[in-house]
């Protein structure tokens, strides 16, 4: 029944999307030049390649109800709240406090009905106005982004969807706004997986990138570790303890099916996807020593990748799949090495500090890792050639298990900086704008993995 409903909804959504696409084309044709020229101009607003970014102050007042009689008044602040949180987490904006707004209640959401002086005087550079209407279970939203100084409209869009998917709808609009201002889509339609300990066991949880829509997906009542989304975001691998060993599982999150991939004697841990989504690297001890092997997704060993007396663990692949970074203690302490999978050459990547682990290779070719120099673990990033070491966290407790957003523009990690428990934080790739995204009352949240929504 629910499925039927959802397919119906998606059908309606598709249809309405098609209609909207036509409408938007008409809109584009109508104010096409305006949008286009402003689009070009808009790219100047935020240069995301800059080493340091100034956050643009944005005002997002409550959305107006556009229908005749007000329905679901709660959405009036909830909808802009979602987009405001997105703007804040993106690191590109500084949403202004609603308490400072001086605009009267009868102002509209069109350019002509806005007194931009009311916004410039409180320091807003951008103004996001929105309205909504409910038709049964359907939600109609319109948002418009204005440059407060020039009074120009930079972006305008209508969107339609079911009310219970309001978050998704707002994330889509948010992504669009980021695309308009930076030339790259925002990270808001992504999801997170992590290890949570609130039940007293270590289990795997998934949520939206912002910590909402939380679901516990394992109930093994043991220790389950190292979740890793597939490149398409449809499956997940993790290692779970069974009575006498660790076992690598693959969990089809869409279908809810779980397969045992590797339960060889000893360790079956720290698995990582190759970007092609067809192979995995993991650490096994079948040779009597923790070494990294390449296996296919059925668990068959394709190749032994490392052969060394020491510990080799925590592999991560370059975006082209031709190189692999991993942790080894072959020099006496854990350090990060890069293996060229074509020439089989191994080079040491990290030399500073006596404890460097958890490498994660981004789509933009940076390697994040957790390193220790003063007792605490902190997040660093480095270029794969060993140059340009950059410290992401400092003097804020322990910071571990970094991973990248699918586009490589954000880092997630777990930190106990709030005192006591570990929570998941996200930050811009350069380390700016560190924000907590999981707020469980009980237990730790650890080992994040970040992926695109598979839908």
């Amino acid at each position: 029944m629910r499925k039927l409903k959802s397919t119906l909804v998606s059908k309606i959504l598709c249809n309405t999307r098609a209609i909207f696409r036509i409408l938007i084309w008409i809109l584009v044709l109508w104010i096409g030049i305006l949008v286009q020229t402003e689009g070009v101009e808009a790219r100047l607003y935020i240069d995301i390649t800059a080493p340091s970014m100034r956050r643009i102050s944005i005002a997002i007042p409550d959305f107006k109800y556009l229908g005749n009689k007000s329905e679901r008044p709660g959405l009036s602040s909830k909808l802009p709240g979602i987009i405001s949180n997105d703007c804040d987490l993106s690191g590109y904006f500084r949403p202004l406090d609603k308490g400072s707004f001086i605009e009267g209640p009868n102002s509209g959401i069109t350019r002509d009905s806005i007194r931009f002086k009311d916004w410039s005087v409180i320091g807003a550079e951008l103004l996001l106005k929105g309205g909504y209407e409910c038709i049964g279970q359907q939600l109609k939203v319109v948002v418009r982004l204005f440059d407060v100084f020039s009074g120009k409209q930079l972006y305008g869009k209508r969107a339609l969807g079911s009310v219970d998917r309001a978050r998704y709808l707002m994330h889509r609009l948010g992504n669009d706004i980021i695309l308009t201002l930076t030339g790259h889509p925002g990270p808001f339609l992504t999801k997170m997986a992590f290890v949570g300990t609130s039940t007293g066991h270590k289990e795997i949880y998934i949520s939206d990138y912002d910590g909402h829509n939380l679901k516990q997906i394992t109930r093994y009542n043991t220790i389950t570790l190292s979740p890793g989304w597939s490149p398409l975001g449809d499956r997940m691998i993790y290692t779970s303890f069974r009575s006498s060993s660790t076992v690598l599982f693959m969990h089809d999150v869409v279908k809810g099916l779980v397969n045992k991939i590797s339960d060889r004697k000893g360790l079956n841990i720290a698995a990582a996807w190759k970007p092609n989504g067809k192979e995995l690297a993991l650490t096994l001890t079948i040779s009597g020593n923790p070494d990294i092997f390449l296996i296919d997704i059925t668990g068959k060993i394709l190749k032994r990748l490392t052969k060394n007396w020491g510990i080799d663990v925590s592999p991560t692949f370059s975006p082209d799949g031709k190189r692999m970074a991993f942790v080894s203690n072959r020099s006496g302490s854990p350090q990060i090495y890069v293996l060229d999978l074509i020439t089989n050459q191994i080079e040491r990547l990290t030399f500073e500090g006596n404890y460097n682990t958890s490498p994660a290779w981004s789509k933009l070719d940076r390697i994040a890792f957790a390193g220790s120099s003063d007792g605490n673990l902190d997040i660093y990033t480095i270029s794969p050639d060993g140059k340009d070491l950059h410290r992401v966290t400092q003097d804020q407790g322990n910071n571990e298990d970094p991973c990248w957003s699918p586009d490589g523009r954000y880092i997630a990690f777990s930190s106990n900086r709030t005192g006591g428990n570990y929570h998941i934080f996200i930050a811009n790739a350069n380390g700016q704008n560190q924000r907590q995204v999981t707020f469980f009352g009980r237990g730790d949240q650890l080992s994040p993995s970040w992926a695109q929504h598979s839908e």
Binding site: G266, T283, N289, S314, S358, D401
Partner: protein, 213 residues
């Protein structure tokens, strides 16, 4: 078992010797009676001659009693021995149990980020090997653990190496590899939950668990 067999044979021997002796005496009496019954008048004589027969019987009885007494003494002796042996076995069992408890209660500790056996833990492992040798039915599991510092994944590998290095030490002392199982819990099962060197030192350890066959 052997002891029991010896006791049993001794008891059987004693019983049979008593039986043999007593049956011999009876035969003698019967043959005398036969001689006597030939002249019916010598009944009195027979009566007179009875005392010697009784004397013989007395002698036999004395001898018989001696044997019984001896056998009884032997039996009591054996009983004592058995009881002592039993007690000894029980004491040994307590001792073995105590060794078993020690086997499980004494972990081997490690240096930070290291998996070699520190010299002060070699005697501990030798004692464990001794226990395993004296108890061939016992199988053991070595559980490697780490302190909380570092990553789960690296610590799982480090814990595995710690359990393996204790296993290898036991193998070098002649313990068969199929009697020892290893598992790493990495940093997942700390004994002490503090965030300081005292706690960490307690958590960098191999635990030893006896697995009943």
């Amino acid at each position: 078992m052997k002891r029991n067999l010896i006791i049993a044979t001794l008891v059987v021997f004693a019983c049979s010797s008593v039986f043999l002796l007593s049956s011999c005496a009876k035969k003698q009496v019967v043959s005398e009676e036969k001689e006597i019954t030939a002249p019916p008048k010598v009944v009195v004589k027979v009566e007179e001659e009875k005392p010697p027969a009784v004397e013989v019987a007395k002698e036999v009885k004395e001898e018989e009693e001696k044997v019984i007494k001896k056998a009884e003494e032997a039996r009591v002796e054996k009983l004592k021995e058995v009881e002592i042996a039993k007690k000894k076995v029980a004491e040994e069992k307590v001792w073995e149990d105590r060794r078993g408890i020690r086997f499980e209660a004494e972990p081997v500790y490690f240096d930070f980020d290291k998996s070699f056996i520190r010299s002060e833990y070699r005697p501990v492992l030798r004692e464990k090997a001794g226990f395993l040798k004296d108890n061939p039915n016992v199988r053991a599991r070595i559980e490697g653990n780490c302190d909380e510092r570092g990553t789960n994944e690296y610590n799982l590998a480090l814990g595995e190496r710690r359990s393996e290095s204790a296993k290898n030490f036991l193998l070098s002392l002649g313990i068969s590899p199929d009697r020892i199982e290893t598992i790493s819990y990495g940093e997942e099962r700390p004994l002490a939950v503090g965030h300081n060197e005292d706690s960490w030192a307690q958590n960098r350890r191999d635990d030893f668990v006896i697995m009943k066959k």
